[in-house]
Amino acid sequence: MNGQSLELTAAPPARHIPGDLAMWCFILAELAVFGVFFLVYGVYRRQQPALFAEGQSHLALLLPTLNTLLLIAGSACMVAAVKRFALDRQAAARRALLLAMVFGSGFLLCKLYELAGKFMAGISLSSNDFWMFYLSLTVFHFLHVVLGMVIVAAVWWMARDGRYGPGRLDGVETAAAYWHMVDLVWLVLFALVYVAR
């Protein structure tokens, strides 16, 4: 273990917020929105368990499980990217960012396929309470993945000139924090909407 990676793994002397505080304000606002969404889902589901169970029975598990794996892998790539920038391994770091975007694209493709199936079946926001929640939550999250990819792509693009490196990690950490938030929200969404019956 060389000195620089030691800094990353051992507890640093001062408490450190990974990324920009402004982004953390945004992240907390997003978490609040999703949190309220999830809890309202909980209330509605409790009131009409049969309707929600019936709706969930139309959801296959294979794609969402694959999607979870993809998002987790994307998150791991973001961590790797931050570490590599911290070690000034520029090319490898940018490869990790690229890989994160590949996993993200995979997620988007699977999700599009899943949503297209639902729309073809004539399901809309106004179908019933379960589909209202299913569509608003998954589409809203889908758009967050898109936004996350835009942010990662921006970091990947700006990283050309070597602006991120040891001690200059704020931009990457900010992007990574957002991506992990999208991942974190999906873990709850996956469990709640797809699996918990």
Binding site: A22, C25, A32, S126
Partner: protein
């Protein structure tokens, strides 16, 4: 440019005033004077309709309630617009560090707007509304008769032209000057204001869609782009009176308005619960508007923090008081009272009751009236050639602040009590009373509201008087 256009200004101001950095900033003064004049008119008509709530035939049939209310709300909008425009003409040159592109155009715009506004109000008062509509071309494109958008078609077109002239003037100034975050946010807000006003020309026959797009003006103004204007004005005054590093104030400004739009845009959905729109708006509107108090809370914390960290003691303490008051009252009025009725399960019972009126009064005063008064309080002494008003004048202004603010709190609490009675008797009760029977039970609250209205008017008169108080200047 500069010599020719500055010559258009009154000579006395151009020569003696060394308090303003750019002579053309002086065009803000007539705007602010007009704003205060129209504000007085707004409150007078507010008193008339406040009285009509318990003495129903007061001034009938000369000024029916609907007419007086229309004058009350339209004067509110117009005086706030005058305030925003004055603020723009003062703030943009100062931030851009150059003279206004065309002070002459600004003065012409002022008179056009004032005369058009006055004629419209006279039209409301002097003609039956349908006659006014007929004479002003409402048959060509019906846009009248919807809350806040009662203006005749030609007035609406006039507003667009005035706004374009104003925005052209400021944008040209900004383009060739220094670009600060405050001026950019101000301009974004003003452009947004003009753009969303265009939806006042959208009036589908389908009532649901009519109401849907009506909110694109009303909500996206007051819970959207106006908050950018408000944030920029507040930030500008805070930079001036606290001396805190601009960088710090500007980054908080961005963060606050980011939160405003993130919550407020889809928060529009809290108006889409019961007007014939699909049910999912109850979910979306509730979730997002539940978070709408957050930016207002941040604004309060921000204002107090900046004043606490101040690096100078600005002699204009009244302006600082107004700035802090804006932070607190906008949070209470827009944040807390807005939240009270915003969740769909609660709104089901409070929609269309006096709670809306309670929230409306405190939010409009706390956010927009107060931020314009903050700006006037800071700039008017400068425009009149002194850094700050005399101690005596400031003392009176601060007293006026407290009287007006506490009066609005009183009005809000009276109307909230009225709303509680109304909801319990007319909506929740097992044997609901009719609207008019319910109103009989609310009379004491309407009396109280009128009393607080008189207090407010007294405070406003003290405020106006403070402009005429001389006395020893503060050293």
């Amino acid at each position: 440019m500069s010599n020719a256009t500055v010559a258009a200004l009154p000579a006395s101001k151009a020569t003696v005033n060394d308090q303003i950095k750019y002579r053309s900033q002086a065009v803000a003064k007539p705007y602010f004077v007009a704003a205060i004049g129209l504000f007085i008119g707004q409150i007078l008509f507010g008193l008339i309709i406040g009285l009509q709530y318990f003495k129903g035939d007061f001034l009938f049939p000369a000024i029916p309630f609907g007419t007086a209310r229309m004058v009350h709300t339209n004067l509110l909008i117009v005086w706030l617009l005058f305030g925003f425009m004055g603020a723009g003409y003062f703030l943009i040159p100062e931030e851009c560090e150059r003279e206004l592109y065309s002070p002459k155009l600004a003065i012409i715009t002022f008179w056009v707007f004032l005369v058009a506004g006055a004629l419209t109000i006279l039209g409301y008062l002097g003609l039956p509304y349908n006659v006014l509509a007929h004479l002003t071309g409402n048959d060509l494109l019906p846009t009248m008769g919807r809350g806040y958008l009662e203006q005749p078609l030609i007035t609406k077109v006039g507003i667009v032209l005035v706004a374009l002239s104003f925005l052209f003037n400021l944008s040209m100034t900004l383009l060739s000057g220094r670009k600060t975050s405050i001026s950019i946010v101000m301009m974004l807000g003003l452009w947004g204001l003009a753009i969303f006003f265009l939806f006042s020309f959208v009036n589908p026959n389908n009532l649901v869609l009519d109401k849907y797009f009506w909110w694109w003006v009303v909500h996206l103004w007051v819970e959207g782009v106006w908050e950018l204007i408000m944030g920029a004005m507040l930030a500008f005054v805070l930079v001036k009176v606290t001396g805190v590093d601009r960088e710090i104030i500007e980054k908080w400004l961005y963060l606050i308005i980011a939160m405003t739009l993130i919550t407020g845009i889809i928060g529009t959905g809290h108006h889409y619960f019961w007007i014939g729109t699909p049910g999912y708006w109850q979910l979306l509107g509730s979730v997002f508007s539940a978070l709408e108090p957050v930016p207002f809370f941040m604004m309060t914390v921000f204002a107090f923090n900046m004043v606490k960290r101040r690096r100078r003691e600005h002699p204009n303490q009244a302006a600082t008081l107004w700035a802090l008051g804006t932070g607190v009252m906008s949070f209470l009025g827009a944040g807390v009272w807005g939240f009270l009725g915003t969740l769909s399960v609660v709104n089901y019972y409070t929609h269309g009751t006096q709670l809306t009126a309670a929230h409306g009064h405190m939010a409009f005063y706390g956010a927009y009236a107060m931020v314009v008064l903050t700006m006037i309080s800071y700039t008017m002494p400068l425009l009149r050639g002194r850094e700050a008003n005399s101690a005596a004048a400031q003392k009176l202004e601060k007293t006026a602040f407290w009287v007006m603010t506490l009066a609005i709190v009183g009005i809000t609490l009276s109307l909230t009590a009225a709303a509680v009675t109304q909801v319990s008797l007319q909506r929740l009760s097992a044997a609901p009373l009719s609207f008019m029977e319910t109103q009989q039970h609310i009379m004491p609250m309407y009396w109280a509201r009128f009393g607080f209205g008189l207090c407010f008017f007294t405070g406003l008169m003290m405020y106006v008087t403070s402009f005429f108080v001389t006395g020893k200047r503060e050293s």
